[in-house]
Amino acid sequence: MSEAPRPRALGGLLPGLPQLLAGRWGSGGTALLVWVGCLWILVTRFGRVTAAFAGAWDERVAVGTLLTGLTVAWAWSWRDASPGALPKQVGVSQWDLALRAFSRNRTAVAGLMVIVALYMVALLTPLLAPLDPNFQGALLTERYVGLSGAHPLGTDQFARDVLSRLLYGARISLLIGFVSVGISVTIGTLVGAIAGFLGGWVDGVLMRVVDIVISFPQLVLLITIIAFFEPSIFLIVAVLGLTLWPNTARVVRGEVLSLREREFVQAAIALGYSKRRIILRHLIPNALAPVIVAATLGIGQTIVLEAGLSFLGLGVQPPTPSWGTMVADGRNVLLNAWWLSTFPGLAIVFTVLSFNLVGDGLRDALDPRLRT
């Protein structure tokens, strides 16, 4: 990448601008978006921000996010545009190379920007949403109100604001996607690495467990487990996290099987490192690239899965808003009140699409066969 001079002062004035001028629209755009968005909330909803300081924990998280967003976007842009911050020449790791490859992939960067925006919105929801998601208007006059100034995305059958519910629903979907994939990736990576490295009967036992878990039809398994217990967000996260790990385990085991024949693992043994150290420090970091790709794609899948469960009434329970339940609620009145199902449906599509774009971009960037 050529080094155009960067007008640093602009970074202090408007974060992201120096990067945008230098042609780095991904990082510049994200910084600008975050900064302008946070500033806009701060200015237009100043009263709510001050009140939220003493509010519930999610309100305080929102205020924290707001202030962090403002400072980080500004400080990063300023530091990044400083004359000393040239691209690294020394100590360029494979992650750095992958990051460079990723940032050249326009669709993936766009997807990442959407995801960043979504998570910002999810965290800032208490400050953003026009109304409480469970606030009911006058049931006689304000049910099924179409798009209007007071209700930008209309109201539902209980005269609740669809936009507010959509925003709060984002928190549920993104949280479930992120946490359950986090759990499944952690378990899957450890199981796969241990099975692959130790081999023998350990490998046999662990992989048979994987085979058993994987051979259940996933949705049926989920429905069965949930049917036994009271449905709750915690249960859904736990069940998703505990049923999706076998895929990761297989991927990691495959990687480790080929890695352990490499000489650096032999060298690590010859240097007197323990098995634990070799697995955690030497094998897992090397097996991580396909895991990251699978995890990104997995978040998208999990969001769809959660929406499906909620659609069937087995997921998040009313009145807690979730995209899946909202789609289900609106399907009977689709012809009269199309906005009920359409907007949460679109939200699911765009979110999952973004995760898939980023996942594909990561796959291209991390695939070792494209580099040496």
Partner: protein
């Protein structure tokens, strides 16, 4: 004479495979004394790498197994059958190894500094800062220019020779008493080979460590070794000082190896090679294992051959003709 640093007695490493028992190392004995360089030479498949791996218990078990009676003593401590914890304390600390393939011997996701630092912190208990300073010093010692800058480089940013230097830096980081170098220069081009050998020789002098050099390259042996063990078909066929081996080879196999070397200034004729190939370790021939390829094979060769002592200093050859 005092006790040798490393004493290998009747080492037998057999592999139990579906095709049968491969007796890759079949009764090997040798000694490494403090501060000396011992070369183990032989063709591919003669068991030299298996021997080196067996010393530190690095053979995969199963399929490999060290047979009863095998003994590896390092400074009086028996290593065969020692538990994993004792071996780990030795590996990389008192005995370290350098491998053949520097391209894949370093972990690709960590900087070279991190990798050297890890060894220092583990075996020498250094804190992060001291270990980093020591890593920079070690990189300088193995002849890497600008060590303070290179310490943050990743393996893929270094050339093969540089990587081998980093491997050596890791190997010497805990001042080992014995360095096992398994074909350390095979994957490098000739000029770099010479540099690496020189580096090993220099480090041996300054650190006072012994080097066990595994190689198939007699030129390398002549250059850096004090004593030589020639291996063939899982056995030691001849031992002696470098002069003995090169000037007065006693075993026909050693002579064959020497005869197949090109000589500087010699006639430009065809190179001589030893006829035939190394037999399979699944079926070593009865009697002298070199018999089928030996030009001198005759009546005395049907019996299994013992090592024949030839004078003092551990000079010996596994051939009955050497007696006369």
């Amino acid at each position: 004479m005092s006790e040798p640093l490393l004493s290998v007695r009747d080492l037998r490493a057999w592999f139990f495979t579906d095709q049968g028992i491969a007796k890759a190392v079949d009764g090997v004995s040798f000694e490494v004394r403090e501060g000396e360089t011992l070369g183990i030479v032989g063709e591919s498949g003669c068991g030299k790498t298996v021997t080196s791996l067996a010393l530190l218990g690095l053979l995969p078990e199963p399929p490999a197994r060290l047979m009863d009676g095998s003994s590896v003593r390092f400074r009086g401590q028996e290593l065969v059958g020692a538990d994993e914890k004792q071996l780990r304390a030795l590996r990389g600390n008192e005995i370290s190894m350098v491998f053949q393939e520097p391209m894949s011997s370093l972990n690709p996701v960590f900087s070279v500094g991190d990798q050297i630092t890890e060894t220092l912190r583990l075996h020498r208990g250094m804190d992060r800062r001291a270990a980093r300073a020591e890593a920079v010093r070690l990189l300088g010692e193995v002849g890497i220019p600008e060590p303070a800058r290179r310490v943050d480089e990743y393996p893929h940013q270094l050339s093969g020779g540089m990587r081998q230097r980093v491997m050596i830096a890791m190997a010497i980081s805990c001042s080992p008493k014995l360095l096992i170098a398994d074909e350390p220069t095979t994957a490098l081009d000739v000029t770099i080979q010479a540099q690496i050998l020189e580096l090993l020789a220099e480090l041996r002098r300054t650190l006072g460590m012994a080097v066990l050099l595994i190689t198939h390259d007699l030129g390398v042996v002549a250059e850096v070794c004090d004593r030589v063990v020639v291996m063939y078909a899982g056995q030691v066929v001849e031992t002696g000082t470098v002069e003995d081996i090169f000037v007065r080879p006693a075993h026909p196999y050693t002579r064959g190896l020497l005869g197949s070397l090109p000589s500087v200034g010699g006639a430009g004729g065809r190179l001589v090679s030893i006829a035939g190939t190394v037999p399979s370790p699944l079926h070593w021939p009865d009697g002298c294992r070199f018999r089928a390829r030996c030009g001198l094979a005759g009546d005395g060769c049907e019996a299994p051959q013992d090592l024949v002592e030839l004078g003092a200093h551990g000079r010996a050859a596994r051939c009955w003709r050497a007696r006369t």
